[in-house]
Amino acid sequence: MFARRLPKANILGRHLATTPEAAATPSPYLQSSGIDPDAPVARPRLEEYLYSTLVDDLMVLSYCHNSPLAPTVEQLKAKEGKGKSDAYNSTSIATLFQTPLAKLPTRPLEAGRPVTNLLSLKAARYGMYHANAVSGRYKRRLANIIDYTSITDAQFAKLDRLRTKVTRDEHRAFEKHFSPRADHLPAIQKIVLKIWEEKAVNNKQILLPALMSLEAITGASAEPLYATIKDATKIIRVGMPIGATVTLHPPQAYEFLDKLTQTLLPRLREWPGLSPLCSKPKKNIGILGFKIPVGSVGAFPDIEPHFDLYPNLFEIGVEIHTTAGSEKAAVALLSGFQMPFRERDEVIAEIKEADALGRANKTDDPFAKYKKKDAGKGGKK
């Protein structure tokens, strides 16, 4: 499939994307991998912008000179003499890239995500650690993956201690909470799109356009989402497919973000902007999200020309996961990509109002909902 070369079509790619250096003999890797060396490569604009330009400004905006972790001039000078600084104490992004070739990761991790540089290796390891550290009744199953037999609590505790001891030193270096280090600058980790439609309880088939719309928008495979909590009043049982989801990792995540800001968001009517507050502040601070209303999903350039193919469209919840350690850093990152945000004070005031209203309506009387509201009228005569 890749052996056929189309000289005319590839002049454009060659002209725009390469320097004379690139016309040299192709490497043995290229020859054996079957990639057409003249075909254009995916260059997500936002990713290149982030690493070349935005990251410098984000560092200026988020660096906290008063932090106890901020190194003093004497500490920096002392490190200069030593040469290699260890992972925890490194303060320059250059040390991450001054790694001998033998130590660079050259193949995808078993976890599934391809990893091609040390920054994403760290992120992938951190993600794997947290994926395994689930709590509750699922914890024990992960302990013995060979035959899934459960082990005693003592055995589990021992394994847990060993595992945490190995990973603790690596992951202290990748703290989620902000510390003023160049390699702790925020980047997009993943974008998750979710559709949740309870009408699918009665009719599974309506999930097909949901899955298709997500695939059309993102170009990635969509998976169904299953119920995890039962609700007898809505006839929901655990395990029923009620939603759809798709996860985008970089570089596709950056391309999707570009599509949102350039084509979809300008077409949303009366949309005030993203909320600058994190919805899950305790668990993962760097997640910001918003919902695309049902009427606007058809505005995607991938759906609009084929609008009639979709019998129903659904509200899409977009979650943008960043590696930021604070809300402000996440907001700075996304506003650097031209995502519009609401005023932080306005959103906080709105939430307080809603809370106050909720508390005002709440009563301690357990029979309040059965009593007639117009009590002054009296009964039948």
């Binding site: 890749f2 490569v41 995808p108």
Partner: protein, 227 residues
């Protein structure tokens, strides 16, 4: 100890940089990995977009029959009409190249060197040397750094530029026994320089390599890590 302020006014790059052989190889490697990873790219199912067996579908499939892909995001077209379109695009690109080459040589144009960031430099009259624009006099005690930076820049380069302060904290400093110069960063969004000829004789928007030739060696060494 005198405190001075200088401003690094940056115009961000507008276009993507040309790729080196290493960059291209890395991106092709990443694309190849992503093609192998399941779930990342969905093979295109024409049935989802066309009525099965319709004329439109047949035409579209014929058009896209033989396409060499190296990246999931950018397939290259192969039809004859696409080639003609391509020829037209090539001509436009060559014409644009000629215009851009001319603009690159004009040191005062904000459209020069679009794939690199460019920084504002002025040639001060007193010292007859190139430097970053800034406050000519020492900082008064009542004034904050970022306000002084704004004032100094307006005095030297006019009020016709729309600028955005990157935070209120300096990005670096140069210190001697006598004085400390703090450097603040600003991004130019629109507008142009209107030079105050009493303070400065010339201005230029320079890339980092060009600054190394224009500035004094010691001065450039102290600011090269900030750029």
């Amino acid at each position: 100890m005198k405190l001075l302020v200088q401003v690094l006014v940056q115009r961000n790059p507008v276009t993507l940089k040309p790729l080196s052989a290493f960059d291209k190889a890395y991106l092709q490697y990443r694309d190849a990995l992503l093609l192998k990873t399941p779930g990342v790219t969905k093979p295109f199912l024409a049935d989802n977009f066309f009525k099965r067996g319709s004329l439109l579908q047949t035409k579209w499939l014929a058009l896209h029959a033989d396409i060499p892909h190296s990246s999931p995001s950018s397939p290259s077209p192969s039809s004859s009409s696409a080639d003609d379109e391509l020829a037209g695009v090539m001509q436009t690109i060559e014409a644009t190249d000629a215009v851009m080459a001319e603009r690159n040589s004009d040191l005062k144009s904000l459209d020069r060197r679009l794939s690199d960031p460019v920084f504002l430099t002025i040639k001060s009259k007193n010292l007859n040397a190139w430097s970053l624009p800034g406050l000519m006099a020492p900082l008064p005690e009542s004034e904050l750094l970022h306000e002084a930076a704004k004032r100094g820049l307006e005095e030297t380069c006019g009020q016709n530029m729309e600028l955005w302060n990157v935070g209120q904290v300096p990005i670096g400093h140069i210190s001697n026994e006598k004085e400390k110069t703090f450097i603040m960063k600003q991004l130019i969004l629109s507008g142009q320089v209107e030079l105050n000829t009493k303070i400065a004789s010339d201005h230029a928007w320079l890339t980092k390599e060009e600054m190394s030739t224009h500035f004094d060696k010691g001065y450039f060494e102290s600011i090269k890590d900030l750029i």
